[in-house]
Amino acid sequence: MTDRLTQLQICLDQLMDMFFASLTYVDQSHDSVKLTESDPKQVDADHDPPSEFDFHSNLQELSTDIILKTKQILTIIDTLPGVGVSKEEQLKKIENLSKELETLEIRKKQAIVKKEKLTEFVNSLILQVSQGIAETRD
């Protein structure tokens, strides 16, 4: 997962690609059109354009994709973090957080020490119990 900015820039690139792709599609798949009614329709043997229905539905699809991509970009822009927060505020927040983290780390260490003591105690308890059992066994 990349960060929002990179994502946004990738989306912009994709949008450009889609622009280009749709232009290319129109360029390569359109059917020939008569200039005047009396002209005979030119048919190119090497060119096999899709049917008009297909062509239009594909155009529909391409344009829908472009719109969706734009909407995605707008959504990502909306979710950019830290809007309206100044640099000083950010730095202050970072400082506070790092202090908080330090105290937490100390607490964590204490907790771990406590845990180790307890483990030791439980261990010795188990040993004594088993010893006691062994002694009473006859």
Binding site: D3, L23, V85, K87, Q90, L97, L104, L125
Partner: protein
């Protein structure tokens, strides 16, 4: 090693070390150190024979250098759009006084040309604003966000215009493409100027994540410890030894490590379960010692009783 003639080197292998390595003898290095101690400057040393290469070269005096066909600056600095010769489409300082719709899109008949469609060009002639702007790219406000959105939308509009132009008057297509290019560069520029801000923001997020993580760890450890202690006390403490009875933190389901550590003993001492739960923090060493003895006694008794039965 040194007397091997250089012609014998196979050029397709890694390139040989640069020829001046042979000046880096222990003797020379010591000599340079000695000279430096004596207060000679690097310039003086570099004039001596054989010692020229032992002095680090001076940094290049020029501002930029050329690499892979591009010119790069030695110093990383923020290059404004103005510096790179691209028209800036957004306001530098998002002051509140500035009208929002002013920048993009502006009616652009003058830019696109008179013959073209009625489309509006997103480009704005903002030369007159540029004078009173300070270089301040750090703050990222709602206005900036709005600019981004506006530019995205005008990107779409410009594409639409481009298509129109292609079908109606391909002569002006290149101009339109250039405009799209400028909008894109502006967008990317704006986004990149946001990077510093974003990196700080993600640092904050990471901190918060880490703090939550640590809190969870501490909580876990303490819960487990409490559970174990309660289990021990439940099975051992006789009435006369109760200290600081505290039922508020009762957690009778001694699960997790607590249950595991107790192991076989736990099952056999269920008859002691209804005893009061003692507060865990009051366990100092002396109490622990006594508890231990008591526990051993109780457990052993109950075990042996069970066995006898």
């Amino acid at each position: 090693m040194a007397d091997q003639p250089p012609e014998d080197l196979i050029s397709s292998l890694y390139p040989p070390p640069p020829p001046y390595v042979k000046f880096f003898t222990n003797e020379n290095v010591a000599k340079v150190k000695q000279l430096q101690k004596e207060g000679k400057t690097n310039d003086d040393i570099s004039e001596l024979k054989n010692l020229r290469f032992l002095v680090p070269p001076k940094p290049p005096a020029r501002v930029n250098y050329r690499s892979f066909g591009d010119i790069w600056n030695f110093e990383d600095k923020f290059i404004s759009l103005k510096d790179s010769g691209i028209q800036q489409l957004y306001d530098n300082i998002p002051t509140t006084g500035r009208a929002k719709g002013e920048t993009v899109p502006a009616a652009g008949a003058d830019v696109v040309g008179e013959t073209v469609t009625d489309g509006t060009a997103a480009l704005k002639d903002n030369k007159e604003d540029e004078d009173d702007k300070e270089e301040e790219e750090e703050i990222f406000t709602q206005e900036r966000i709005d600019e981004l959105k506006k530019m995205t939308k005008s990107l779409l509009l410009n594409f639409l215009e481009l298509i129109g132009l292609i079908s109606k008057n391909p002569k002006y297509v290149f101009e339109k493409i250039e405009q799209i290019r400028i909008i894109l560069i502006n967008l990317h520029h704006l986004l990149n100027s946001y990077r510093l801000h974003q990196s700080r923001e993600s640092l904050i997020l990471k901190y918060e994540e880490k703090i939550a993580d640590t809190l969870a760890t501490i909580d876990n450890i303490e819960k487990t410890c409490d559970a174990v202690e309660k289990k021990i006390k439940m099975s051992t403490v006789p009435d006369d030894m109760q200290l600081n009875t505290n039922t508020a933190t009762t957690n009778t389901s001694a699960g997790g490590v607590g249950g595991d550590n107790q192991g076989g003993a736990g099952g056999s001492v269920d008859h002691n379960m209804d005893m009061d739960v003692m507060e865990s923090t009051s366990m100092d060493d002396k109490v622990i010692e006594e508890l231990k003895k008591e526990a051993v006694k109780n457990l052993t008794e109950s075990l042996t009783n069970q066995r006898v039965v």
